[in-house]
């Protein structure tokens, strides 16, 4: 699992890069344990975006003047940073999106509508975020394809022994899974799922929202066909994300949205599409945000993805150990050695909303929700959980404050 390759990161020093930690909440120090929802932003990213607006701002593409050329160059430089981060073969295979949800919908619509039909099967997992679940469920309905779900065991890990049964439902054409579960932190065996998908003649679509910010992800090593992630979870701004797609597939697909840079030639009778990746980028893109995402990629790469993974692994181990000491707390999901920096839990007899509310008064931010994974909630037999999640700036003291806060929850509801 977490292999030590470089020096450990120093979260206390890194926190100095994040202005938000200079502020207090309800008079308490901020314990931000909700990075799986969205990460905080370092000064380096905020400064980069401000500098772009102040010195080089104009719309990208088709500008003849110097300012527009500079803006375009920055946008495309960000694309190269995304490519390098996930080791995509070419920037032609890196599409900028608004977020992961848009990227996954792009695949479901632009690929699914033309490639699924009666007798075909779309497969997702019980661990999926709605963004990688609902599009396939709905496109399957529209095309007459079957929809199947890979279940989980009681530890929250995929039951690959169910694959054979799923294959009997028809021609499996697409398998969609997340690399890391946003609710349980389960690290899914994407390499094995991809091998199975390809054996069936299916494409593999990966939601890497909870993976790319926290560990090294290599699309070529994984062999996946599509992989999406988002900027705001990796220290970058909201409104930007990226989708990797294998070139042969992207070339054969129709556009998702139309207008703007994705056009080559338009006549009254016909329209032809621009080259990749622009064919899938309609309208003025969020290019300053894409540039900010590039700055965020520089930031996390400099800290070191291996160091981030190890740091979060240490923290989640500590959190699970401390939570498990409380016999009135239920922890969901796999053991620490098989999960990323996310832990979902419930306090006996107390709704997660109330848990989160009381923790908030202690300056501790956790999410209390179904985490956009309602089928998983049903499988766990709950309507919601409280969830703590970690990032490179998280420190052990935040876990201590979480535990102290939970004792307070217990006291209020005693």
């Amino acid at each position: 699992m977490a292999v030590t390759v470089g020096p450990k990161l120093d979260a206390y020093t890194l926190r100095g890069d994040f202005p938000i930690f200079e502020h207090s909440v309800h008079g308490q120090p901020l314990s931000y344990l909700d990075s799986a929802s969205s990460s905080q932003k370092p000064r380096q990213v905020l400064d980069a975006m401000r500098e772009f607006y102040e010195t080089s701002y104009a719309n990208v593409h088709r500008g003849v003047y110097d300012l527009a050329e500079r803006a375009t160059a920055r946008y495309e430089a960000a694309r190269e940073k995304v490519r390098a981060l996930i080791n995509a073969p070419s920037t032609a295979e890196v599409i900028f999106t608004r977020n992961v949800t848009e990227g996954l919908n792009l695949v479901a619509y632009a690929w699914g509508l033309d490639n699924l039909g009666p007798g075909d099967v779309a497969v997702v997992t019980e661990l999926e975020h709605h963004a990688n679940f609902v599009p396939w469920q709905q496109i399957a309905k529209r095309t007459g394809a079957e929809f199947r779900v890979i279940g989980i065991d009681d530890a929250g890990e995929l039951r690959l022994d169910g694959l054979e049964e799923i294959a009997k439902a028809g021609r499996v054409q697409v398998v969609a899974a997340n690399l890391v579960s946003n609710t349980l932190g389960t690290i899914n065996p994407i390499d094995r799922l991809t091998a199975w998908a390809h054996e069936q003649g299916a494409i593999m679509v990966v939601d890497a929202a909870q993976a790319v910010p926290h560990r090294r992800v290599d699309v070529q090593a994984l062999g996946v066909d599509f992989l999406g992630f988002t900027s705001h979870k990796l220290c970058g701004p909201t409104g930007a994300g990226a989708l990797y797609g294998r070139r042969e597939l992207l070339e054969r697909m129709s556009p998702f949205e139309m207008g703007g840079e994705m056009i080559r030639k338009v006549t009254i009778e016909e329209t032809t599409w621009n080259d990749l990746p622009y064919k899938f980028e309609a309208g003025t893109p969020a290019f300053v945000e894409a540039y900010g995402m590039g700055a965020a990629i520089d930031y996390i790469t400099e800290v070191g993805l291996e160091a981030i993974e190890e740091h979060e692994h240490d923290l989640v181990g500590r959190a699970i150990e401390r939570l498990s000491e409380l016999d009135w707390v239920t922890v969901y999901g796999p053991p620490p050695n098989r999960r990323a920096g996310i832990v979902s839990f419930n306090v006996e007899g107390v709704h997660p909303h109330d848990v989160a509310q009381i923790l908030d008064s202690q300056g501790v931010c956790v999410r209390a929700s179904h985490h956009c994974t309602q089928p998983l909630m049903r499988r766990l037999g709950v309507t919601a959980t409280a969830r703590a999640s970690f990032y490179l700036y998280s420190i052990p003291e935040e876990i201590d404050r979480l535990i102290d806060g939970l004792h307070k929850v217990r006291k209020v509801f005693a």
């Binding site: 309800h26 107390v350 709704h351 997660p352 909303h353 109330d354 509310q357 009381i358 908030d360 008064s361 209390a368 929700s369 179904h370 309602q374 909630m377 309507t383 919601a384 209020v412 509801f413």
Partner: protein, 144 residues
Amino acid sequence: MDDQLYREIILDHYKNPRGHGVIEDADAEAEGMNPLCGDEVSIYVAFAEDGETIEDVKFSGRGCAISQAATSMLMEMAKGRTATEVATLPKDELLEEIGVPLQNNPTRLKCALLGLTTLKVALHKAKGTPLPEGLSGFDELELK
């Protein structure tokens, strides 16, 4: 803030909810959902012989302390009133009863009003009374 929010009365209603249960063959019923957390509440109404007075009202489902306590208080408020009175019951009247500051917490306000909204939907379905303002969390099918 939590000390204000989790007043004794809230915790009391949460731990000992009034009118918790199901009315078989209810004259009116509806199921509401808080899309935020997936909490569900079902409300059942039985009318008196005049077909207008709420003789009995119960709720089932699960949720946070605020939603459960608010719904529990609502059961006490609604019993004995007419469908029209309850359908037009201002939400402030319930919020006053709950008596905890929720104005600056729109998320928790939704929790507090889930029961009232669901009760109004149940009455709408049975009696055609007006739907509450800012209705959300109900499938269109549910309202037919």
